[in-house]
């Protein structure tokens, strides 16, 4: 994969010479003999009088030539093909970075794209842009794979027949002309919510040209409720930007702001900053209260979590608002103490509500924040990023009334995700001409109207554009590559309709001067930035020549100081009745988003195979139910033996619990049927500890029917339950067990630490009292880590760790929220393949870094802690001693390195790894389609060309039968070292500057929880963190000296809250020092001590 050559036909003069053979081979008689020998047969040789000796000599030479010079296994001829004219900036083999942005429904995301030889290979956050620290999330990381998805829509189609782009361009011209006569009556657009000023400007232009046109937008997971609430209580079209970093007390009402709530990135960064105040003298670490139905990552980070049905949260918010008005008086202790804590932090507290919560709750949140004086402090109110448009419901009414004759469906996928009662599929058929513009040919494309056009969309990395960021910052977007399959952008469609078609230069004759005449294009010419420039001119208020300002804008990726100013306002009262409290026996269904967002990433293998953060479920969705509901329905969970089916406590109460059944169960998970408002959905049930007892959570986006190879047959469609009335949750749902089972691929089968203190936590108070606590947990308290003279696993050929730089890593469990961005970043950086659902069930997933998730406390209402685990680069690595072929050895800078080409696949190393971080290529995942892994030689060989284009050229693509693992991004280390050598030249200055480069997981981490660097340099961040009192190494008592260490987590419970005594006590603190080796089972021992706290 490193280099790829297009082998051209051999040149006429392309003879090869081999010093050793050319003498003999060049003789004419020998050549003649070679040519004659096989066709003519051996009998001839006798008559030619060849001696036996000659025969052998010639045979030997001809075989040598056949082997080395002519055909067969000779060295392949490779070509070096330089440019004829070098493009600016391109240095062969070096990467370039360009600023761009990713459109997202709640504000675009500033990115830096890494480009190699014209191919974008990786996306990362733009560290210079406001609201960004260079971190990004799973979608930004996964988007690069979407660009190269071989299943993307590639052809212009009319009624299913392939047509040319010109046909469509002509159709647009015809439509523009015909709708010009009736002011656009009957013309309608349905788009996604995309905060792009250029699109909105073009929309305005269209509205001028066709005053009667209808423009609707629809997002299944938008922030419409928040905007509607602002309209009600603030009296304007506003939305909020929450400043998590400024808040000391945060209350989340069903808001998973650290994960599935889109725009979570700034939230993670701000929240982590609040956690990091632990290290600052005189500063206060933040405290998080969460009230939610589904156990989310936010709930896992919470200091106090209250399980509650989503439908009850309205009443909770009302009670809380009343309690705050009353100075903290409430019947419920939880609410009264919470209210008191919020009041005590007026102006430094923050209340947020989830997007699925109704308008009333959002309105109440505005009121509460207003009461607490948070507005303008921790809550900034800014104008909404998108303009008001028709809703999909209004559009459907118009279509049903026959008022729409031509409908453009630009992006989105309403046939899949529109509210169920609208029956979008039937509605769309009623429109005589439908123009569908999409990245994939999907459910909406499949609907046939009288005339249906399918137009391939260009990916956001293929087009010019602009967008507003989350806080309104104006961001640029530039193409990284020409459209791979000739897709066109929305801008191209709209400008064509507007008649703003750029005149295109006629193809220049070779060598001729620039042509004077230009002709109008017949199809879509290559996109130019002129329409975005026009918008830029207006927003940046540049007069005259914009060239310099534009260049700066595109280079930086954003316009400085362009964020929306916050509006000073206060909330009015909101009188509407909130949702009724649930009756004891009724169930509710809540919808959330997991790894594939609203379903748009279902064909993205990286995101599909990424374990959902809480359930560790891949490739599917399931109904998440509480242990109590599972018991009530009598569900027989695979692997369950005791207590009630499927739920088996491993450790004593008070330490850790194991709830999920064993990995890869062949029996399957039981199916349940959910009925809501006459609509039913049958899907597998999965027990989720911490789920509210009367609530069932289902991830949307799965169960798509018209999609490419990867997403086919993945999950169950929860949109079929969702109606306009109930977009966030449905109450009054009935559930029953039905026959059948379904296999789910879950990556983490074991949720208990078995008392070994892998992930460690404590309360803020105890952390202050006992700074050395982290070394007193689990086995560490009995057997301290490596000391000089301590018997190591191997000593004889212990590598000398004498290089000038020594690499190490620290992961701060206090700020890591478990968002999984590191897993995808690692996958993109290190060419890690996906293995498919069946192989995940077999436990063969390939992620180099994983996020372990442990539960502690009671099964019904546990606490959660996450811990990213990658290769620890042990100094005394157990894997190295067992490798029979020296394929894994130690480097002098402390890396446990893998030489893939030496590996023969014994897998001894994986068996001997205490952290289980080594991954084996059981199949040639890069070479075979995932559904043909067992076909042997019959399988189709090779991967799609475009997938190859994504690979990082600086990392080997591994073949079948080799072991692989985290390398600390050795390609980045070596690049940094070599760069330093280039700078050093003839000086001895070869030490890389501290923190001048990052590993991929460190770079992506929005919480900055992962810190990598040179531990020998006292100035580096990682060295400083290694001296932190919370620093500990996992399983250090094995004497293997891992280079990665962790910082223990600190929880910040409010002592006055009910249940506060249980928070942060999962890690049992044992005796100080060593010497105790006659203890019984560690868990029992641990819990006994743990209960004292």
């Amino acid at each position: 994969m490193k280099r790829q050559f297009q082998h051209p036909p051999e040149a006429a003069n392309g003879k090869r010479y081999w010093r050793s053979l050319n003498e003999l081979a060049d003789k004419p008689e020998f050549k003649e003999w070679l040519h004659r020998e096989f066709p003519a047969g051996a009998a001839e040789m006798e008559t030619d009088g060849l001696s036996r000796r000659n025969f052998l000599r010639l045979m030997g030479a001809s075989m040598a030539l056949a082997g080395l010079g002519l055909a067969g296994c000779r060295r392949p001829e490779a070509f070096l093909v330089p440019y004829t004219k070098s493009p600016e900036w391109i240095v062969p083999g070096k990467t370039l970075q360009y600023a761009t942005s990713m459109p997202r429904r709640r504000g675009a995301f500033p990115l830096l794209a890494t480009v190699v030889d014209g191919r974008p290979i990786k996306l990362d956050g733009n560290p210079n842009a406001p609201l960004s620290n260079g971190g990004s999330d799973i979608f930004a990381q996964g988007a690069i794979l979407d660009l190269y998805d071989p299943d993307r829509a590639k052809e212009f189609k009319k009624n299913g027949d392939v047509v040319t782009a010109k046909d469509f361009a002509d159709e647009l011209d015809r439509m523009a002309a015909s709708f010009a006569t009736n002011k656009g009556e009957g013309l309608a657009f349905l788009t996604e919510s995309n905060p792009s000023p250029t699109l909105s400007r073009l929309r305005g232009e269209l509205a001028k040209k066709f005053p009667a046109l209808r423009w609707a937008s629809y997002e299944p997971l938008g922030n419409q409720n928040e905007i509607d609430a602002a309209q009600a209580v603030l009296g304007g079209r506003y939305q909020t930007v929450a400043k998590y970093d400024k808040a000391d007390v945060i209350l989340s009402l069903d808001c998973d702001f650290l994960a599935s709530e889109d725009g979570g990135l700034e939230a993670i960064r701000g929240f982590a900053a609040g956690r990091r105040r632990l290290e600052e003298k005189g500063a206060k670490m933040n405290r998080l209260y969460t009230v939610e139905s589904r156990f989310s990552l936010t709930g896992g980070m919470a200091d106090h979590r209250l399980r509650m049905n989503s439908s009850d949260i309205g009443v909770f918010a009302q009670t809380l608002a009343a309690a705050i008005s009353a100075g903290g008086k409430a019947d419920d202790q939880w609410i009264s103490e919470l209210a008191k804590d919020l009041i005590a932090n007026k102006g430094k507290s923050l209340v947020v509500a989830g997007g699925q919560q109704p308008v009333g709750v959002h309105a109440l949140v505005y009121t509460i924040n207003s009461l607490l004086g948070n507005i303008g402090q921790t809550v900034l109110v800014i104008p909404a990023l998108t303009e008001a448009t028709l809703s999909i419901q209004q559009l459907v009414t118009d279509i049903n009334a026959g008022k729409v004759t031509a409908l453009f469906v630009l992006g989105g996928n309403p046939a899949f995700n529109a509210p169920a009662e609208l029956n979008w599929a039937d509605v769309q058929k009623k429109v005589s001409t439908v123009i569908r513009h999409s990245l994939h040919e999907d459910e909406t494309s499949a609907i046939t109207s009288a005339v249906t056009w399918q137009i391939p969309a260009a990916h956001f990395l293929e087009t010019w554009g602009d967008a507003r960021g989350r806080d309104g910052t104006y961001l640029s977007r530039q193409p990284m590559i020409l459209p791979l399959w000739g897709g066109i952008s929305e801008t191209q469609i709209l400008t064509r309709l507007l008649g703003l078609v750029p005149a295109v230069a006629a193809p220049a004759a070779a060598g001729a001067a620039a042509p004077a005449a230009t002709t109008p294009p017949t199809a879509f010419p290559a996109e130019t930035p002129e329409h975005v420039q026009e918008t830029f001119k207006q927003i940046a208020k540049v007069t005259g020549d914009i060239a310099n300002a534009w260049r700066q804008f595109v280079h930086d990726g954003f316009l400085a100081n362009s964020a929306f100013a916050s509006v000073t306002t206060s909330a009015k009262g909101f009188g509407a009745q909130l949702a009724k409290p649930s009756t004891p026996d009724a169930y509710e269904v809540t919808f959330y988003t997991a790894n594939i967002d609203d379903g748009r990433y279902i064909n993205n293998g990286w995101l599909q195979e990424l374990p959902e953060p809480m359930t560790k479920l891949t490739w599917d969705n399931a109904a998440l139910i509480s242990p109590a509901l599972a018991k009530k329905l009598g569900l027989d969970m695979p692997g369950g033996t005791s207590g009630f089916p499927g739920v088996e406590p491993i450790d004593k109460p008070g330490t850790n619990v194991s709830v999920q059944p064993e990995l890869g169960s062949k029996n399957g998970f039981p199916m349940i049927e959910i009925t809501a408002n006459g609509r039913t959905l049958v899907l597998p049930a999965l027990i989720s500890p911490g789920q509210a007892d009367h609530s069932i959570a289902i991830a949307v986006g799965y169960g798509r029917t018209t999609i490419g190879h990867v997403g086919k047959g993945s999950g169950f469609n929860a949109y079929t339950l969702r109606t306009s009335e109930n977009t966030g949750f449905i109450t009054g749902v009935s559930v029953k067990k039905v026959a059948g089972g379904y296999n789910l691929a879950i990556t983490q089968e074991h949720n208990s630490m078995e008392g070994r203190g892998l992930a460690r936590e404590i309360t803020l108070e105890d952390n202050a009292k006992n700074p050395g606590w982290v070394q007193q947990i689990g086995e560490s308290s009995h057997m301290p880590g490596y000391k000089e003279g301590f018997p190591a696993i191997y000593q004889a050929d212990q590598p000398k760790l004498d290089a000038a730089m020594q690499w190490g890593m620290v992961i701060d469990l206090n700020t890591c929220v478990g968002c999984n961005a590191c897993m995808i970043a690692c996958q993109a950086e290190n060419n890690i393949p996906i293995v498919g659902k069946d192989q995940v069930i077999n436990g063969r997933e390939m992620h180099w870094i994983r996020n372990d998730r442990y539960f502690s406390g009671e099964m019904e209402d546990p606490q959660m802690i996450v811990q990213p685990v990658a290769c620890m680069q042990c100094e005394n690595a157990p894997c190295e001693t067992v490798c029979p072929v020296n394929a894994t050895v130690h480097s002098d800078d402390g890396l446990n390195v893998m030489a893939y080409n030496r590996c023969i696949g014994t897998r001894y190393c994986a068996n001997n790894c205490p952290y289980k971080v080594r991954r084996f290529n059981f199949f040639g995942y890069n070479e075979r389609p995932l559904d043909q892994l067992y076909w042997g030689p019959l399988a189709k060989k090779g991967s799609a060309e475009t997938i190859k284009m994504q690979k990082n050229p600086n990392v080997t693509v591994r073949m079948r039968g080799v072991m692989e693992k985290c390398t600390y991004c050795v390609q980045r280390i070596e690049e940094a070292k070599i760069n330093q050598l280039r700078i050093a030249k003839d000086t001895p200055n070869t030490i890389v500057k501290a923190d001048s480069f990052q590993s991929a997981c460190q770079q992506v981490c929005p919480a900055e929880a992962i810190v990598f660097g040179d531990i020998k340099n006292p100035e580096s961040k990682v060295s400083k963190l290694k001296n932190n009192t919370r620093n500990y190494a996992m399983l250090d008592y094995l004497g293997i000296k891992p280079r990665t260490s962790y910082l223990g987590r600190v929880r910040n419970p409010n002592p006055a809250m009910p249940g506060a005594e249980k928070v942060g006590t999962a890690s049992p603190i044992e005796h100080e020092g060593g010497g105790h080796d006659e203890h019984g089972a560690a868990p029992a021992h641990g819990s006994e001590h743990g209960e004292k706290h």
Binding site: K2, G93, A510, N901, N954, Q971
Partner: protein, 220 residues
Amino acid sequence: MANIFPKSANFLPIKIGLGLSVIGLLVVAGVWYYFTPKYTRVGYQPTQPVAYSHALHVGQLGMDCRYCHSFVDQAAHANIPNSQTCNNCHKEGGVQWDNPKLAVLRQSVEKNIPIQWKQIHLVPDYVYFNHSAHVNRGVSCVSCHGQINEMEVVWQDKPLSMGWCLECHRAPQNNLRPLAKVYDLNWTAASEGKNQLEVGKQLVAEWNVRPPTNCAGCHR
């Protein structure tokens, strides 16, 4: 009943065994010797699409390596020059423009068709060699490519095998030279009346030269 096999047949298994082991030894010895890069790679000298002579351009005209291989000190690859670079001198009305030997270049410049040079120095895909790390630290082109400045047609002069790389990585003093002399392919320590080993040892110490000898230095 007469014996079917003569008595001499008793020794047949031994003879066969001996014969087979001799053949086996020969095969092993043959593979050992002939299948190494030292034998299979060195001397590879393909005919290039343009008969470019390093001996003429560098040896006689004294061009610097970096005029054409312009990124050799900046990047991993020592780039092959683009047609534009050749065209700087061999332009219309310039040096040798009408020479039939430059037909491929003319076609490339006029019709924008890249020239397909045959790759001679090819290391396996899992080897990540970096030119800039070497030429910026006193390893001359000549150490790996031989006297390119004297070659009419370039051939592979060194095996470029891992063992060969390690020879130098373990003892860099044998090949280091002052930075000013890196692109001077005729320079030797002896030409200045010095001893290479002494020069090399001094540079290793002065520049803190520590070439990697672990796997990750080249394999990622």
